[in-house]
């Protein structure tokens, strides 16, 4: 199939998926107690006030009409109003999301910087002791809950040796976060650990695959040295598909951020979500779910497309 056709079909699919997600989120919002009236008028509103509000806002109309209204609001960036924080959900997310992105991007960069060389080294030393040791370690890291690793790190680095503080940098702006780099160490390391485990596996597999390709044999036969082949050809060819896997990893990154932010009291979107879960603040919860779901769909789409462009042999991807 020609690339343009594939792109169009794949984007259309992604839009359908996002639409289904909005139906689910809309359905949940409506099944929940309270509704937007309670969010905006507060818990002391009288039933008359609520009826009047519902009528004004069109909330007494049939559900499909309301769904279309909800969609229109979404397109205008309106995610509703928080029950407890008396602020628009979109505004809350706008404040918190950049900080979560700082944390996840830093974790991803640190994770990749460790995982890529590790995976390549494993591929070169395939089936030797080093390969087995790293494979076992990544197996264990994959099965370790993020918060358990965080707790152990807190115990070791704030109690046994006092190298790092146990709280992530506080403050409202991204600049304030960067002003305290030492406090970022434990949260970033905690977030990066499972990345190292997963992406060293991908890199190992990609490197092995490339090492068995004809062009490597040709280069060897032409007298190129192993090191030159490895870095000039194999590394470059393995890099793009492995980095594209990041697209599939978006939901895991957000899940990790949720736990890391809760553990280290880092005021990002994860902590916002967790506090909203504690106080049953449904508009905030579902607003976050919507943002994360869209990010996941876009990530998957990008990963599929990149893989196809890089390697025309890949057909269809996950779809």
């Amino acid at each position: 199939m020609d690339t343009l056709l594939y792109l169009t079909r794949r984007i259309a699919q992604a839009l359908v998926v996002i639409l289904i997600v909005t139906v689910v989120v809309f359905g949940l919002l409506h099944a929940l107690p309270g509704g937007p009236a309670r969010g905006i008028l507060g818990p002391q509103a009288t039933p008359q006030q609520i009826t009047l509000f519902n009528h004004d806002q069109g909330l007494d109309r049939p559900l499909p009409v309301q769904y279309l209204y909800y969609l229109r609001q979404l397109l205008h960036g309106d995610l509703g109003t928080s029950y407890t924080l008396n602020e628009a959900v979109s505004q809350l997310i706008e404040q918190r999301l950049p900080k979560t992105l700082v944390l996840t991007v830093l974790s991803a960069v640190v994770g990749l910087l460790l995982a890529l060389p590790l995976g390549m080294w494993q591929a070169v030393r395939r089936n030797k002791p080093a390969d087995y040791v790293i494979t076992t370690l990544s197996f264990v890291a994959y099965s370790t809950p993020v918060y358990f690793l965080g707790l152990v790190l807190v115990m070791v680095f704030t109690q046994v040796v006092r190298w790092f503080p146990s709280q992530a940098p506080q403050g409202d702006t991204v600049a304030q976060v960067f002003a305290d780099p030492v406090a970022l160490v434990l949260p970033v390391v905690t977030g990066a650990a499972s990345m190292v485990a997963v992406f060293s596996r991908y890199m190992r597999a990609a490197t092995l695959e490339n090492l068995s390709e004809d062009y490597v044999r040709t280069a060897r036969a032409g007298g190129s040295r192993q090191r030159a082949i490895l870095f000039r050809h194999v590394f470059r060819n393995s890099l793009t598909p492995v980095i594209a896997m990041l697209g599939y990893y978006v939901p895991v990154l957000f899940g990790g951020a949720l736990v890391v932010e809760q553990l280290f009291n880092y005021p990002g979107m994860g902590l916002l979500f967790w506090s909203a879960a504690q106080s049953s603040d449904y508009p905030v919860l579902l607003g976050c779910v919507l943002v994360i779901s869209v990010a996941t769909v876009v990530g998957t789409l990008l990963a599929d497309v990149v893989q196809r462009v890089v390697d025309p042999r890949v057909k269809g991807g996950l779809a």
Partner: protein, 292 residues
Amino acid sequence: MSVQSAGRWGLVAQFPAPLKARFARNKLAVAGLLVVILFFLFCFLGPLLYSTDQTHTDLTQVNLSPSGAHWLGTDAVGHDELGRLMYGGKVSLLVGLAAGVLATVIGTLWGSIAGYAGGWVDAVMMRVVDAGIAIPALFILLVVSAITTPGVPGLIVILGLVSWLVPSRLVRAETLTLKRRDYVLTLRAIGGSHGRAIARHILPNSVSTIVVAATFQVADAILLVAYVSYLGLGVQPPATDWGGMLSAGLTAAYSGRWWLIVPPGLAIILVVCAFNAIGDGLRDAFDVKGRG
């Protein structure tokens, strides 16, 4: 050609070694099976040998370090930690197993129907799966926990309902190839119903894919329930599970009470690793494609 030469030339190799033998060759998988059996014995028979009170708090016995009387010390409300490890393990193992199996059953039904029906039914059903995968399970679980406080049966159902998506994709892929097989076409030609084709041919022939998926599903479910409980939204006290035991972990970490953190954490890692190892072993023994 004699029988011996047939063997030498690899004709006998067409009859692979029995499944059990191939599984047994995978040392990691056998170790995994052993770990799982030991943990079941520990959690379900352990309390008979090491009996502790896990329902009443005892404020005269809080935060004790490990000793002869309390092998793993006590927690902040005076529960014996080793006993609690058994008590919480029951919930972790039961919920993980049941939710993993439930997710596999739902996924198998959904995937086989989508794959068998094909066309627009398949397209719609699989877009629903895409949408489900786009909403990360941990987040949807926390939303549900904010609405209601689930008990153990509720937790199993909810976990099953959010994690059937990956098995459904695997079974659908399997069904797509199986439904073109001669025996399925023959059954249809002689008037067998669609339901019969799925029940008698598609599902029995997908059993290896399904079993492998179920094993990984159990590992994931144990991890997932540990996350939800850790975040304080799983089973409620006095009941607990390994994740719940860690929900007060930060206080314990600050005061250096490692015995409240390390045992439940290691238990989770060991059991999840073990189920993953069993899944790997089964996948190699069945020779099916699955999670890499």
